[in-house]
């Protein structure tokens, strides 16, 4: 499988080169991709946890309100 293409513009000679990543670049690329994926997953999980906490707080508030209303109707 071919590696990602990188572009290099050397201003000293004004030449533009497109080539596949070398070993060092590819290792850094894979590390960056892994770190980025992990950060995205962490962000999604944090948002999901935040939404779940909001939903739970809402459910708790509704339950408390219903319980209070029922208690108020007791003779």
């Amino acid at each position: 499988m071919s590696r990602p293409i990188v572009r290099i513009h050397d201003l000293a000679t004004d030449t533009v080169t497109d080539r596949e990543m070398n070993d060092v670049e590819f290792a850094q690329y894979e590390a960056d991709q892994a770190a980025y994926t992990a950060s995205v997953v962490a962000e999604v999980e944090a948002k999901a946890a935040e939404e779940a906490a909001k939903q739970q707080a809402f459910n708790d508030a509704v339950s408390a309100a219903v319980a209070a209303a029922l208690a108020a109707q007791q003779p």
């Binding site: 990602p4 572009r7 290099i8 513009h9 050397d10 201003l11 000679t13 670049e25 991709q33 770190a35």
Partner: protein, 176 residues
């Protein structure tokens, strides 16, 4: 008596402190684009990244001298709170808590790096930007930062953290 005909000549002004010279124009492409061999005879660099477009929703970064540097920086956006520019050893033109929208071309950034050619002190920078984020909203950016790394800056690497760049132009100006 006929008057003396004096040709009208506008003298070329001497290069003044603060004047700018376009050093390079580079089309962004691939997984990264590196601009190397940067002229070392100016005081500052002004970098304009115009209409960059990426295949995926992504952060957009800039490495100095081909490697991530220990950089300190912060940024403020009009829409996403708390976006850090460079707490993870690179300069994020966009990233951390927000991404550029995929295949959008309205993304523009500028960055001025001061004293880039010195090899005796660290570097500072400031800039701004405007982009369409992956939640379909425009955002404006202001940021500033710096690094204690004292190596002269001779190359700059621009890259997304996902996908490839399909369009965009980098203009580099030398500031006297």
């Amino acid at each position: 008596m006929a008057g003396l005909l004096v040709p009208s000549v506008t003298p070329t002004p001497a290069v003044q402190t603060g004047s700018m010279t376009l050093l390079s124009t580079t089309t962004l492409s691939g997984s990264s684009t590196t601009i190397s061999g940067i002229n070392q005879t100016y005081r500052d660099l002004l970098i304009i990244v115009d209409a960059v477009s990426c295949s995926d929703a992504t952060s957009f970064r800039l490495d100095i001298n081909g490697a991530q540097v220990n950089a300190l920086g912060s940024s403020g956006t009009s829409n996403s709170a708390g976006m850090n520019m460079s707490t993870n050893n690179m300069i994020r033109l966009v990233g951390n808590q927000v991404n550029i929208r995929a295949a959008d071309t309205t993304n523009v950034f500028s960055l001025r790096i001061q004293n880039y050619a010195t090899s005796t002190t660290g570097k500072t920078w400031f800039g701004n930007g405007y982009f369409f984020n992956s939640s379909d909203a425009y955002e404006a950016l202001d940021y500033g930062g710096g690094t204690a790394v004292d190596t002269a800056i001779t190359s700059l690497k621009f890259y997304p953290t996902a996908g490839t760049m399909s369009a965009g132009t980098v203009f580099i100006y030398g500031v006297k």
